[in-house]
Assembly symmetry: C2
Homo-oligomer: 121 residues x 2
DNA sequence: GTAGAACCTGACATCAATGTCAGGGTCAAG
DNA sequence: CTTGACCCTGACATTGATGTCAGGTTCTAC
């Protein structure tokens, strides 16, 4: 498929797809005229890239872990890296949960105030 | 206390504290010579700002919700805003959890491979 | 009073993925 | 052959909190 279709099917912008390729995160073949052609499994790969990018991993990091993901084989250093990234994600989740709790508290209190003024039941 | 002490006690850089003030997120008094002076409760406030910033809220948003947080009173629009931000945080958490699961799977598989090669027990 | 630490303002730099524009090929349908 | 949609490269812009530097003032301790 061409880049436009891949974009549509993944939700990634055409610009982003070209960027991913430039970062070595994915490959494409080219037609004689130079247009990119992607295999069907590129869809899955793009989704994975987006997932990891959204989790705050840098593209060099993602590049680094691509072989681990595909082969299931890792060196000790790679294992440490993977665990380090997972830890970072977990810390990030904890931060977000803490902020969510804070917001929920504010919302709950505001709701109680509101019901005081205009009892629901 | 002066800005350096507040920085130490909150972990926020002096630069950041000045920025928060500039964004209207906090206030300070000034000595006759122009140096900022903060009240003790500024520590709590900075921690709150950092919590919300870390959760991805913009400083105008945080500014907007400050009165809600302190008074517990909200307009309908504010309520919607608060709930919207909470939703965004929850979506973000879901993204991160999904990435964490993906990484955990990779790590687990790598571990199994490793134990095949060098059985632990 | 003097040295050094801490403070002030203002300005510019940073990071990384993405948006956007310019200028120009390619391709399918009429 | 022409039109319009799609593609190409390359370059510059964006975002927003924070880092950093310059040039200057203030405070503290000796």
């Amino acid at each position: 498929m061409r880049i436009g279709e891949l974009s549509e099917r993944t939700g990634a912008s055409v610009r982003s797809l070209r960027y991913y390729e430039q970062q070595g995160l994915m490959t494409s073949e080219r037609t004689p005229s130079g247009q990119r052609t992607f295999h069907a499994d590129a869809v899955e790969r793009v989704r994975l890239i987006q997932l990891l990018l959204a989790a705050g991993l840098s593209s060099p990091r993602i590049l680094e872990m691509m072989p681990c993901i595909h082969s299931g084989t890792t060196t000790r250093a790679q294992r440490r890296m993977l665990e380090g990234e997972r830890l970072r994600i977990e810390e990030r989740i904890a931060e977000l949960e803490s902020a969510r709790e804070r917001l929920s508290r504010v919302i709950r209190i505001a709701r109680e105030r509101d019901e005081e003024r205009a009892p629901a039941a």
